[in-house]
């Protein structure tokens, strides 16, 4: 049971790392990025390839850097032109990008399952609650916590973070004060993409690499963002943790309902609070 709660935290941490980027991007560009799962998947593959040469940590760093650069391109080439278009256009375009990314990965890396080994330093188990638990999984919880703390410190206490919060609330007012909101957006998309890519690397040792790995976690990430309150980090954090628990505890107590539970949670919370848990943004 306690082990299940820990596993819930592991999944919640991954969900948060992914959903926080989605929430930030929505806050700034009002864009719902259906390609976010593809960024996670790309990160895993890029990190995998780099790790074959230079090891896990280098793979993690390379995935973060490559995806950050990709994020800048994505913001300039796709999100900026799309920001005043109707949501359906954005949905179709980003969904199309996700399909292209999956195809690309298939043609570059093929369809063979590849497994990504966890770093040796963390390839141990810990005795916990009269059983054993892989240290690597605890490290993932640490990763999620580091992302949450890092983002909060960045948004609350840095000058750029202040501009991000200002632009998320009112991009025109922020820009009139002298903020180049396009550059702020490019930065936020870069950070979000890097987080997605690094989450892909971090998650990869738990499963085998597959081009579809992004699509699976994307649905849950969206639920986190919507339930948390569009654009809210705090809301996303709480919901990610909740969903992580529901996911694992559901398997234990209501196996036939597990795949439905996240949706039931979403419907329930939105009926109760239509703007999501947090209501206000950032």
């Amino acid at each position: 049971m306690a082990i299940q709660v820990l596993n819930g935290l592991v999944y919640g941490a991954l969900l948060f790392a992914l959903a926080s980027g989605l929430a930030l991007m929505f806050g700034l560009r009002r864009i719902v990025n259906f390609a976010h799962g593809a960024l996670y998947m790309l990160g895993a593959y890029v990190g995998y390839t780099a790790s074959l040469q230079f090891g896990f940590w280098a793979g993690l760093a390379v995935a973060g850097l490559v995806l950050a650069a990709l994020g800048v391109v994505l913001d300039k080439a796709v999100f900026r032109p799309l920001q005043h278009r109707d949501p359906l256009t954005t949905l179709l375009v980003t969904f199309g990008l996700a399909l292209i990314a999956e195809d690309l990965v298939l043609s570059v890396w093929g369809n063979d399952t590849m497994s990504f080994a966890e770093p040796q330093q963390l390839a141990h188990t810990l005795s916990l609650f009269e059983t054993t638990f892989p240290i690597y999984r605890l490290a993932i919880v640490g990763f999620g916590a580091a992302v949450a703390i890092g983002l909060v410190l960045w948004l609350r206490f840095s000058r750029v973070g202040l501009f991000v919060r200002a632009a998320s609330h009112d991009p025109v007012i922020a820009a009139v004060q002298g903020v180049d909101t396009d550059r702020v957006s490019a930065l936020v998309v870069a950070v979000s993409a890097a987080l997605a890519g690094m989450s892909g690397v971090v998650a990869a040792p738990l499963m085998s690499l597959a081009p579809s790995m992004g699509a699976d976690i994307l649905v849950d990430s969206f639920i986190v963002v919507v339930v948390g309150g569009l654009g809210s980090l705090g809301g996303a954090f709480i919901t990610a943790m909740l969903l992580g628990q529901i996911n694992v505890l559901g398997v234990v107590f209501m196996p036939e309902l597990t795949s439905l539970l996240p949706f039931l949670l979403m419907i329930g919370i939105l009926l109760w609070k239509p703007t999501g848990l947090a209501g206000a943004r950032l």
Partner: protein, 232 residues
């Protein structure tokens, strides 16, 4: 040309609708100028044109003497023209202090710092950690002016700053604006409140239906004459 801001036959509006039909005016360093006009004549549209919010159809906008073709929202602030927008534009998700820091986003050094703004408006220092919109209307206007000063502007533009404020508070604001003007900051005051205009502006332009229909010096014009252009 060494004006801070100049409009030359500016035609601008929103979408396909033209609101301004050839507006011209010049603001030289240190001048204090008012633009008067009734509701809906296009006063804010003039500001929005400079800010790249309204669409420029024809004519030219000169910022710091330079003809500026691509007007981005941040262009003016970075060139030393700070704007207190109509409705003040205080961000509710930022504290008073954070709103002020935001005003320094253009990175222009000069007299005005957070400390100096707090000296000018001690109440902002007392409420530094409150949400910007938790302040009273008058205090929010102080915050809006303080935020604009954080840009160390050569020209301070205020769009109907007296809107919704009590007469005593408007008096205090007039005093602050006069002091700023005396210290060399140029002021563009968009107003319907004549007391403020008479106390702050030397020059006025009257806008009507998207055109400047009259201009002059406030000292040579009676309040009754000015009133004619504003009263409905």
């Amino acid at each position: 040309m060494n004006s801070l801001l100049a409009f030359e036959n500016v035609e601008s509006g929103y979408g396909n609708a033209r609101i301004l039909h050839g507006v011209s005016f010049v603001i030289a360093p240190g001048e204090s100028v008012a633009i008067l006009g009734r509701n809906g004549v296009g006063k804010s549209t003039a500001v929005n044109t400079m800010l790249g919010i309204a669409r420029l159809f024809a004519g030219d906008v000169y910022i710091q003497g330079r003809r500026t073709t691509s007007l981005r929202h941040y262009t003016a602030a970075r060139a030393g023209i700070a704007v207190v927008v109509q409705g003040r534009g205080i961000l509710p998700n930022l504290t008073v202090r954070e709103n002020l820091i935001l005003g320094g986003a253009a990175n222009r050094r000069g007299h005005w710092t957070l400390e100096r703004v707090f000296e000018l408006y001690p109440v902002l220092a007392e409420r530094a950690n409150s949400a910007g919109t938790a302040l009273s209307g008058g205090q929010q206007q102080m915050l809006a002016i303080g935020r604009a000063l954080m840009a160390n502007p050569d020209l301070l533009v205020l769009d109907e700053p007296s809107e919704g404020l009590a007469p005593v508070i408007i008096d205090e604001m007039a005093e602050v604006l006069r002091r700023l003007s005396a210290d060399g900051t140029a002021i563009l005051l968009i107003e319907q409140n004549l007391t403020l205009v008479e106390r702050v502006a030397d020059i006025f332009h009257v806008l009507s239906k998207g055109r400047v229909v009259e201009h002059g010096r406030t000292e040579h014009t009676s309040a009754a004459d000015l009133q004619k252009h504003i009263a409905i």
